[in-house]
Structure formats: structure tokens, C-alpha cells
């Protein structure tokens, strides 16, 4: 299996505080990976670095062997933890927008998912609730045939039923060649879909292991291990 993401001594500072410190991490294709940690641990910083929204102070980060830039953005599909689509757009406008800029966008898939969730493509985003907007964003992001998906808090704002649908969408919509990174602190909800977990705390990598390994070695669920590692 080939490497999709490689971080070497990755460091990002904001002023004098380090959001990420000397992070070494290698992720392979074909995995669903949970990026777990308490608030402010550096999860979003790492995801922003992968997407070129931040530039590291030290160290390197490579996606499929290339530094973040135009080429990497073509193969990374990113769901930020906020609603980033312009309000005035109709759902169908956003689909056209993605189709225009991303060669790997599958329009048919997007409309299928919209239909499945009973979302009207002619509605303006302004008229949708926050949770519904998040669903639209997830549909857009998952309708790309990307190599790396970065989902920052994808289930934070939606109800449990939609949560199940979203997780199901994630599992069924990525191919074996791709890697999915899901950042969240709602661990119990996503535990079952994860292949690997990454724990980060105060900008440091605490643990990177496969879920099976943890269950075998520690004899406990990821959720209880998380509570143990990050006990306040």
C-alpha cells in the first residue's frame, strides 16, 4: 500500500505558542483514520496545513509526494468545520461550482445523494438550516473521487439519524485507493468505521495505531482509551 501523506518534524507556531510540534506521521491509502484529540490540540491546524490554508514554520508535509499546492489540491477533498458556501447560491449552483473546478467531481453521484436525503437542488443555501447546509457540503466533498479526504468535524452539527447516513456515505463513497481522515471528538459515534486512530494532545502525537491493535493490546474501546489518555 502506498503512502498518501507524510509529515516530517512538522511544526506550526502561532506567535510563540506551538499548535503542532515536531510531528512525524505517515498515512497510507485505503484507510479510514480518526484524528482524535481534545479541543485546541492541533487537529484543525494539521488539516489546514494539509490543505495549504496554513504554511508550516518547520518540517515538511507531502501529499502523494508533493508539497501542498495546486497539484495537491486537485487530489485532496476538504470539509472544513464551518459552512463555507456562499449563502446566495442555490444547491445546484454549488454543484456546478465544484464541477467546474474539480476534474474528479461526480455530478451524478451528488444529485443521487441529494435525492436520497430529500434535498431540493433549487433551494438557496440561505433558506437551509445549519445542519442541512452541512449535509450539502458533505455531499459535495464526498462526490469527488479524491485520493485524500479531510473531514473536519463532519458530524458535529447534525442529528444522530443523519449522522448514521453521513458515516455510511463516507464508508461507501471512497475507493480503496483513497484515505479518509476524520477529525472529531465524538469518538463513540465513529469508532466502528475507523481503521486507524491518531491521538494528538497539545500539538504532540500521542498515539498512531490500528484500531484492531488497540482492541487486542489494551482490551478496550477507542472511546475508553481516549478518556484515559486525555483525562483532565
Amino acid at each position: 500500500m502506498s503512502v498518501i501523506l507524510e509529515c516530517k518534524s512538522l511544526t506550526k507556531k502561532f506567535g510563540s505558542t506551538a499548535a503542532l510540534m515536531d510531528l512525524n506521521l505517515t498515512l497510507e491509502r485505503g484507510r479510514i483514520i480518526g484524528l482524535l484529540g481534545p479541543n485546541g490540540s492541533g487537529k484543525t491546524t494539521l488539516i489546514k496545513l494539509i490543505n495549504g490554508l496554513l504554511v508550516p514554520n518547520e518540517g515538511s508535509l507531502k501529499i502523494n509526494g508533493i508539497e501542498p499546492g495546486v497539484e495537491s489540491k486537485k487530489i485532496v477533498s476538504y470539509l472544513p468545520e464551518r459552512t463555507y458556501l456562499p449563502d446566495w447560491m442555490k444547491v445546484s449552483d454549488t454543484i456546478n461550482f465544484f464541477k467546474d473546478f474539480y476534474a474528479d467531481f461526480d455530478e451524478k453521484k451528488a444529485y443521487e445523494m441529494l435525492k436520497h436525503l430529500n434535498l431540493d437542488a433549487n433551494k438557496r443555501l440561505k433558506a437551509l438550516s445549519k445542519g442541512t447546509k452541512e449535509k450539502v457540503q458533505l455531499i459535495l466533498v464526498m462526490s469527488r473521487n479524491a485520493d485524500l479526504y479531510c473531514l473536519d468535524e463532519p458530524i458535529g452539527g447534525v442529528d444522530p439519524a443523519a449522522r448514521d447516513y453521513i458515516l455510511n456515505t463516507i464508508i461507501t463513497n471512497y475507493n480503496e485507493n483513497a484515505c479518509v481522515i476524520i477529525s472529531t471528538h465524538l469518538i463513540a459515534d465513529i469508532e466502528n468505521v475507523l481503521d486507524e486512530v491518531i491521538f494528538i494532545k497539545e500539538g504532540h502525537l500521542k498515539l498512531h495505531a490500528s484500531v484492531d491493535e488497540i482492541r487486542e493490546k489494551e482490551g478496550k474501546s477507542i472511546d475508553s482509551l481516549f478518556r484515559e489518555v486525555f483525562r483532565c
Binding site: 495549504g52 490554508l53 456562499p86
Partner: protein
Amino acid sequence: MLRKLLRHELYATGKTLLPIYGITILLSLLNRLVTNIDIFNGPMEIIPAFMQIAYGISIVATIIVTVIIIVLRFYKNLMTDEGYLMFTLPVKAYQLINSKLISSIIWTIISVITVILSLLILLANPERLELLKESIDNIVYILKISFGENYVLLTIELGILLFISMIQQMLLIFVSIAVGHLFNGRKVLGSFAAYIGINTAVQIALTILMVIWSLIGGSSLEELGSIPQLLFPFTIIMGLTLSLLYYLVTNYIFSKKLNLE
């Protein structure tokens, strides 16, 4: 990619601007009609008065709203949550700046054309057009007397100068917003501070340049004849230099110092 960006840019801004330009043209047509038919007597007189006020507002709005939309679009689309969408597109930061700059230039020119066209619709008749032609001839005549053969050069320079000043003003707004976004949590305030700060710094630098110029005995810039050879070329070069500087700083911030909230 630039073409796609530009198309989306024009669509996003045009949905507000085109109706405004349309209303301005429509109101000038209506006003022309109303001034030509004299059926509004007594309390009905309020109709032409109202029409004139509406027209006046639409003319002012054409220019002001264009500027506001340019500024707001740049800020909202790049520096707020929408920035997460725009800066993760597979495009270079300078392509984002280019698309915004070109679209702003297009709308500014269209807004000026709209105002001129609307004034012509409202006021043009054979006598007035004759008068306008005479005034233009007159201006050309005066220019010829004052600058001799150089008057053609002067006219071309004036056109370039207007165009460069427009670009310079837009890039100044862009760079101020980019610098302002570095002030986390106080982005809007930071942008205003940056705008005032950069403007002041440029004024001071220009004044110093002028003083040095006169100290080393350069010819007086106030002499009329030196305008086409000295003052205008100097201003054009300054405008180009500053524009380039603003552009490069904006691009640097967007590609290396980006920090969306």
C-alpha cells in the same frame, strides 16, 4: 482556470450590479419621457419630482454600489468562511487576485459607461450635442496652444494615468484587506488601519521625493510645459510601481501568511 474564476466572479457580482445599472438606464428613459410630456398638473406634479429624485439616487448608487460591491466581495469571498472554499480550489493565489482585479476593472468601466449613457439618454438633443462637441473642440484647441505638438502625448498619458490610478486604488484596497486579516480578531479594523497607514506612508514618501527632486535642481514640476514630459510620466511610473508592490504583498500574504479564522 482564470477564465472559470472570472466567470464565477462576474456572475456573483453581476447579480447585484446589473439590475442597478439597468434601473439607472430605465429611470433615465422614464425621466426623458416625463420631461417631454406635460400632463402633470396640480398634485400630480409630485410624479416628475419623485422621478427626478429617484434618478439622482440611481446615478449616485451606480458608482457607490459598484465600489462597495468590489470591496465587500473581496473581503467576504476571501477573508471570511468563504475563504475556505476559495483558497482550497486548485488555483494559485495570484489567480484569485487576478480574477477579482479584472472583474473590478470591468464593473468600474461599465458603471462609468452607464452613467454617461444615462445622462445622454436624459439630456441629449441636437443643440446640446452640438454644444458638447464645441466644448470638446475648445478643450482640444486650448491643449494645442498650451502644449503644442505634445497635446496628443498628453491625452494618451491622461488615459493611461486614469486607468493606472483605478488599478492602483483597487490593489490598495486589496492589500489593505490582506494586511488587515493578519490582525486576528480585528480584521475589519485592521484593514481600515492598513488603508490609512499605507496611504499616509505613500504621501510622505512622495513628498520626500519631491523635496529631493527640487534640491538636486530638477526642473520645476509646476511648469506647464513639463507636464507631458515629466509630471505625467512620473505619476504613471509611480502608479505602476505602487500597484506592483500592492499586488506582490497581497500575493505573498495569501500564499505564505494566510490565517483564516
